[in-house]
């Protein structure tokens, strides 16, 4: 019998702890497939955050560390400096990365730390019961913004990919989504590319993945996927914000153009 679909080796057999319809599971799968396909499972070390993905150390079938809330990029820095030839990644939510861990992620990117960050942006604090995140959209109701996020009080949602893409140390920064099959395929390409550029030693790489939280958004899974498309993507445009592999091509074109003059 022909095998048409297999379990990814880089995931364990543990049952995922995520709510039904939550896209954390899809993102785990994409990360694991990338590790698997690049053949780096045996030298990969992951860092789990504080958030719904805290148990990621049970799910990825590789050596793992669990970090304090927001500190995953610092922990990953420590690991990567000790094992520069290993593949090191963090998996972080938006409260973890864009709020309490803002300093750690910005400086990891600024240093050009050769790690990959998978940034799961679901516009809310999932694990603690749906509080407002720095990424919560204007007007979005959460348990700590019961009248909807008011930019007068809380400012505008933070666009991390744009911010980090502007740092010289960043080699690759992209924002993707997993709300339909096409988006999932593109997300996979971006995640794999981020790992490839880490392996090539190019610098800091991050893929921001727009993700759902049906439980705390108060929607069923299908509605939640629709909300990503209709509400999140307009504010968080998908795309590549930094790609040194492309820049290098441009730069070499630049040089030849100058030489031609």
């Amino acid at each position: 019998m022909a095998v048409v679909f297999e379990k990814t080796k880089a995931l364990t057999d543990a049952t995922l702890s995520y709510c039904p319809g939550c896209t954390h599971g899809i993102i785990h799968r994409l990360v694991a497939e990338s590790i698997d396909e690049l053949g780096v499972m045996e030298k990969s070390i992951g860092v789990a955050p504080v958030g719904c993905a805290v148990f990621a150390y049970d799910f990825f079938n590789i050596d793992m560390q669990q970090a304090a809330h927001g500190r995953a990029p610092a922990v990953a820095t420590g690991i990567k400096r000790v094992h520069p030839n290993n593949v090191v990644f963090t998996y972080q939510g938006d409260g973890d990365l864009a709020s309490i861990g803002m300093a750690e992620i910005v400086h990891a990117a600024a240093r050009g730390e050769k790690i990959t960050t998978i940034f799961v942006n679901n516009a809310i604090y999932g694990m603690t019961g749906g509080q407002m995140a720095p990424t919560t959209l204007v007007g979005q109701v959460t348990t700590t913004s019961p009248y909807g996020r008011n930019p007068e009080l809380c400012g505008m949602p933070v666009r991390m990919a744009e911010m980090l893409g502007g740092l010289a140390g960043a080699a690759y920064v992209a924002r993707v989504s997993v709300h339909n099959v096409r988006a999932v395929n593109e997300a996979k390409r971006a995640i794999k590319k981020a790992f490839e550029l880490q392996i090539a030693g190019k610098g800091f790489t991050m893929v921001e993945v727009l993700s759902t939280c049906p439980t705390n958004w108060g929607m069923n899974p299908v509605e939640a996927l629709g909300w990503v498309e209709s509400n999140m993507i307009p504010y968080y445009p998908l795309g590549v914000f930094k790609d040194v592999s492309k820049d290098a091509v441009l730069a070499s074109k630049d040089v030849s153009a100058k030489e031609a003059n």
Binding site: M41, E42, K43, S44, I45, V47, A48, V54, Y57, D58, N61, I62, D63, M64, Q65, Q66, A67, A68, R71, A74, V75, A76, T77, G78, I79, K80, R81, V82, H83, N86, A103, E104, V106, H107
Partner: protein, 355 residues
């Protein structure tokens, strides 16, 4: 063995390197700046890594990552920075990772001052961060001892899988003294099958997970029981203390770090006046040398604790004596250092109480 004239901070850094430390993550703060500065120069020479982190919070979490990855690793700071490190330290305790942390104490609270102080004793010896824990705290009284204890701290950390704190005051950090610096300190580095190095040989060990989360309270209680058993073991095996003239002493001074040197001069002056006084100098502040204190109470009528604080170690002396002897205190705060004369006059006062 070469005799070198070094500042305490530099001796700590060099000793760490000669004890096999190859990773240092830190952030500038007075009066410990010579440690990161020295490390930034020396680490590249020995193939190690020095990284100036964006904050003490980041530095201690880099230590967590590197320790979890199996390295001998260290950080250093002073009061305000050590407070920021407490989050990382309790995670390091929970995940049972070995590392060395140096606190060159300055006056507090708040931004306080940059002058020497011993006001972080409680923070150091009571755990410091959240959760039930202790960690070995080593208190050097000279530059040579600072080097020796720093080297020893790495072995202790590896042996018990715990952070170890080297607690110096600003004077230790800044003073220059001769040090016997061996080419390499003896090192006992155990196997670290728990370290995340990449899971290449799946038959050799289970998947490595460095973690302090135990969501099931029954399991977390067992984890805590194991930690407490470890502390009992450390307390039984690792107490280090120096005593001087305590055999016939009617008054026993208790002081640590540079305060013990001032206390020692005062003890000698008092002896010259015919006062029977001795000195106990705890070298490990945790575990505390309670037995030595109790032993001294066999001859001593009174105890006098001298600190550069409002009186913190005095609690451990009182706990050891459990009311058996009166315990007096003399201290200065905020970066002020008690003089030999001040301590001597306290000894005289204590002696008069005994008459």
């Amino acid at each position: 063995m070469a005799k070198l004239l070094m500042k305490g901070n530099e001796a700590i850094a060099e000793a760490a390197i000669r004890a096999g430390c190859r990773y240092f993550f830190g952030y500038p703060i007075t009066p410990q700046n010579q440690i990161p500065e020295y490390m930034s120069k020396r680490m590249p020479q020995v193939g190690g890594t020095f990284l100036q982190a964006e904050s003490e919070v980041a530095a201690i979490n880099m230590v967590y990552g590197a320790a979890g990855a199996g390295a001998r690793v260290m950080t250093s700071s002073s009061g305000p920075g050590i407070s920021l490190k407490q989050e990382g330290i309790t995670y390091i305790v929970g995940a049972e990772l070995p590392c060395v942390i140096v606190n060159i104490m300055r006056g507090g609270p708040g931004l306080g001052s940059i002058q020497p102080s011993q006001s972080d004793y409680f923070q150091a010896t009571r755990g410091g961060g959240h959760g039930d824990y202790n960690m070995p705290v080593l208190a050097p009284a000279s530059v040579a001892e600072a080097a020796e204890l720093t080297a020893k701290a790495f072995d202790l950390a590896d042996k018990y899988r715990t952070p170890v704190l080297v607690l110096g005051d600003g004077m230790i950090g800044q003073m220059m003294e001769p040090v016997d610096m061996p080419e390499a300190f003896p090192q006992t580095v155990p196997e670290k099958p728990w370290a995340t190095v990449g899971w290449s040989d799946k038959s050799a060990r289970p998947r490595a997970v460095v973690n302090s989360l135990y969501i099931d309270p029954k399991v977390l209680e067992q984890h805590n029981i194991r930690l407490q058993e470890k502390y009992v073991k450390i307390a039984a095996e690792q107490v280090q203390v120096a005593t001087e003239l305590t055999d016939d002493a009617e008054i026993v001074l208790v002081a640590y770090g540079t305060m013990s040197r001032i206390a020692r001069s005062a003890v000698r002056a008092a002896r010259a006046e015919g006062i029977k006084v001795g000195l106990i100098r705890p070298i490990t502040l945790w575990p505390f040398p309670s037995d030595t204190i109790r032993q001294a109470a066999k001859t001593a009528e009174r105890f006098l604790v001298i600190e550069m604080s409002a009186g913190q170690m005095i609690e451990d002396v009182k706990l050891a004596l459990n009311g058996a002897r009166p315990v007096g205190f003399y201290g200065r705060m905020g970066g002020m250092v008690p003089s030999v004369d001040e301590v001597l006059s306290e000894i005289r006062k204590t002696a008069r109480k005994g008459e």
